[in-house]
Amino acid sequence: MTKLDLNTIRLSRRQVVALGGGAVLAMASMGLSPLTALASPKDAKKMLADLVGGAALNKGRVHVKLPKITDKGPFTRITISVDSPMGANDFVKAVHVVSERNTLPEVASFYFTPMNGKAEVTTRIRLKKTQVIVVVAEMNDGSAYIGKGRTKVSLGGGGCG
């Protein structure tokens, strides 16, 4: 009897691995993924749709300047500029920066006014690994423009970003 029980319970290494994989998949599908999980391009897209409010994303007008390669992932200099006259009736309302491979996709949002004279901002962001940074500019008339930049992080990134 005991022998039979053991036989039914015993699993091969291959089966155990399969079971473990199944459990992880189940967790992910239930939204219980651990905090160390990374954001995906899908999350970034969803986040942008929420921020812009469903407006169509046109290409152009947004210029993202990032280093091609960096060994300081937690301190990556980014310069964003948007082609706009920045007059009282035509100006850039907001610029949203979203990461595709950090722990959380949101990075920063910048809100401009005609008092800026020029739509440009420079800051430093955290990059956990090699990835694409997506920037969306929201105009005062409701239209939105998208721009992208990519940086290769040569060392282990880090900085929790």
Binding site: T76, N102, T103, E106, G117, E120, V121, R124
Partner: protein, 108 residues
């Protein structure tokens, strides 16, 4: 932890000139995920809001999240209509504020 704000602008400008405002705040920007030497999680404490006003009117505003580096540095342009005071305010988790003023005079 001492947090020191810096605002760097030229002292003088002509009316309508676009100047570059360089701001920095010494701040660790804890994300709340890091562990210290004893294995305890360091609580989240970061700058989540930045506001720049010129003589009381808003010039530039930013929402900062976990993706912004420690010692948040921001450089942005500002169009100067006349002499006045440029005030930058950083808000930390918990409501603590850091304020720094910079004066500018317009010469013809």
């Amino acid at each position: 932890m001492t947090s020191k704000p810096y605002v760097k602008i030229p002292g003088t400008a002509t009316a309508g000139e676009i100047i570059a405002v360089k701001t920095k705040l010494k701040h660790p920007m804890e994300t709340g995920w890091r562990q210290n030497k004893n294995g305890q999680t360091v609580p989240r404490k970061r700058i989540y809001k930045f506001l720049c006003t010129f003589n009381g009117t808003e010039v530039f505003r930013a929402d900062l999240h976990s993706g912004v580096s420690a010692d948040p540095y921001l450089m942005f342009p500002a169009k100067i209509p006349g002499s006045g005071v440029l005030r930058c305010t950083w808000t930390e988790d918990g409501g603590r504020e850091f304020v720094k003023d910079a004066e500018i005079t317009v010469i013809s």
